[in-house]
């Protein structure tokens, strides 16, 4: 077998003879690889955003919401029932061993005023555990404390969006704002979280102590009730156990007979995020397979041109055989040509794919992520396409009868 380098040189010479054709043949591979690279980059970018969002929410989370309840034949709407209380929260903290942390939320919308600026945002009453569960540090000032909660302190933590809207470049910590006319002192500003998986701005929020929210802002007729309870399980494997424990505990506390409708619902936030991650994975798989089809078409183009080339060069093959080339040498020569076409095409495809993904990022603002593995896979794939689609024409060349081939016009 002549050395690979020699057959590369022979192949390069053969390709140089018909440069335009070689380029057009490569174009199919270029497009295919570029499409695969760009699609993988877009898919990976989307997945990365989702996993960042998952991280921003926190892990191993359950959310307890008041459910619709049937009382005397009347069904009230979900969340409208004031069925969850601070008592439930205390019971969950005390009696559910799989629960690491639990935090209440008392939620309302309010107009916030600072000086002559005002901003409408979500105000959330909670306890210090909330920041821990959401893994949400304070970047400026201090977090909420149990003392704030116990003392019904009129203190507030601002999300980044609120801080920017009301204070701009000014220092917010220590300033006085009014929430529903009630004066609060800003004690801290939260780190930026960005968008939630649902697309809402997680930084457009104000946190206050839960009892302050109940008594001063949104309490109304049922000052002990809460809108939801956020729970962090002790670990991923304890999530199901935590859900069971909390369900049993609340059924018992709310005196719900077995088999009857519950007046609360428990959502597994981690599960919901896993679903959205799964759907984005499916999407990128779909994009990737569409792109692979174009690569396949490119491979068929290679095969087509190689078959034409074998026919055109029948006499050359005859000459080589007469001069002492073995069939293997001929096979290797044509295979090398096909692989060379696809590898060069593949490399150009990577260049175009990477710049295409960069252009998508820039022009459409889509996140893209180019992994080294994706590029390696692309190179390997194009070589495989060359071997696969080049083999049949090469074998055809190698099995020509030298006498017939020499006579071929």
């Amino acid at each position: 077998m002549i050395e690979l380098w020699m057959s590369v040189k022979i192949a390069l010479r053969a390709l140089r003879v018909n440069k335009l054709r070689a380029f057009l043949t490569m174009l199919g591979i270029i497009c295919g690889i570029a499409a695969v690279i760009a699609m993988i980059a877009i898919g990976a970018g989307a997945r990365q955003v989702i996993s960042e969002q998952i991280a921003s929410i926190g892990s191993n989370l359950l959310l307890v919401l008041p459910g619709s309840t049937t009382a005397g034949g009347l069904r009230t709407g979900a969340g409208s029932a004031a069925t969850l209380t601070m008592g439930d929260l205390r019971a969950i903290r005390a009696e559910a061993p799989s629960v690491a942390l639990a935090a209440p939320t008392v939620r309302g919308t309010a107009q916030i005023v600072f000086g002559n600026l005002n901003w409408s945002t979500a105000v959330q009453g909670t306890t210090p555990e909330f920041l821990e569960i959401r893994e949400w540090p304070v970047v400026n000032g201090r977090p909420l404390t149990q003392t704030d909660v116990d003392g019904t302190a009129r203190v507030a933590l601002l999300g980044q969006t609120v801080a920017e809207q009301l204070f701009g470049a000014e220092e917010p910590v220590g300033r006085l704002i009014r929430i529903r006319q009630v004066p609060f002192t800003v004690v801290g500003v939260l780190e930026r979280k960005g968008q939630s998986p649902q697309g809402s701005d997680q930084d457009d929020v104000i946190l206050v102590p839960v009892r302050t929210a109940q008594r001063r802002l949104f309490g109304g007729r049922t000052p002990d009730s809460v809108n939801s309870i956020l729970i962090k399980a002790v670990g991923a494997e304890a999530l199901a156990a935590a859900q069971e424990e909390v369900t049993a505990l609340l059924e018992q506390r709310h005196r719900i007979a077995p088999g009857k409708d519950r007046d609360f619902t428990i959502r597994n936030l981690s599960e919901m995020l896993a679903v959205s991650e799964q759907s984005s994975r499916t999407m990128s798989l779909l994009l990737g397979s569409v792109a692979s089809i174009s690569l396949l078409v490119g491979g068929i183009g290679i095969m087509n041109i190689m078959l034409v080339s074998v026919t055109e060069r029948t006499r050359e093959i005859g000459i080589r055989l007469a001069i002492g080339a073995r069939r293997r040498d001929i096979l290797l020569q044509f295979l090398t040509e096909a692989v060379l076409l696809t590898i060069v095409g593949g490399l150009l495809g990577i260049v175009f794919g990477v710049s295409g993904a960069a252009a998508v990022s820039r022009l459409l603002g889509w996140p893209t992520l180019i992994a080294a593995e994706a590029i390696l896979v692309a190179v390997g794939f194009s070589a495989a396409v060359g071997i696969f689609f080049g083999f049949y024409p090469a074998r055809k060349a190698a099995s020509l009868d030298p006498i017939q081939a020499l006579r071929y016009e």
């Binding site: 002549i2 050395e3 020699m6 022979i10 010479r13 003879v17 006499r315 050359e316 005859g318 000459i319 080589r320 055989l321 007469a322 001069i323 002492g324 080339a325 073995r326 069939r327 293997r328 040498d329 030298p402 006498i403 020499l406």
Partner: protein
Amino acid sequence: MVVQLSDISRDYQVGEQQVRALRGVSFAVAAGEFVAIMGASGSGKSTCMNILGCLDRPTGGRYLLDGVEVGRLPGDDLAALRNRKLGFIFQGFNLLPRTPALENVELPLIYARVPAAERRRRALAVLEQVGLAGRADHTSSQLSGGQQQRVAIARALVNQPTLILADEPTGNLDSATSAEIMALFQELNRGGITIIMVTHEAEIAACAGRSITFRDGQILSDLPAGQGRA
């Protein structure tokens, strides 16, 4: 003996019909001979040359090349024989298109795994031997018919073969150029190279030392010819 054919036959199956291209051909060629093969078109000359050149296998009979029985050798060994012991010259020159003369001449050496530098040196040397020293970079389209045939002869010579096989080497050339090519053949033969050449021109055959005439796949006559070495 360089070549020994005994009772060689070659049958072609064309549909239902059997064409007997060679029917019991026997002759031997000694080292240093220059043999012309003559005969009417269709008499089996090319078929015989293909068998001599290890491009085809006989249906029956025995063929010894340099004392080796060729009939049962596997394909790769035949390729090696063609590469090391045989040099082909064709009527239509059969150079690679768009390829410089030098590379055409180097081709057998590539398949003989000769290193690049030596390949180049030897190819240039044979090009000089056939009188084309200045044409190494010319491609077929830049060379005359006679020059192309000289490149083909250089290619046949470059691996120092035991036997040169030429099937109507002057068939595409005018008579003046044919005479030049024959002079070159005679010179090579005087240098000790064995040549078997097919031709149907008596003048060309007269350059050889011996002429074998075919008819209907059999040898009609085997005679020493006028000039040349006997």
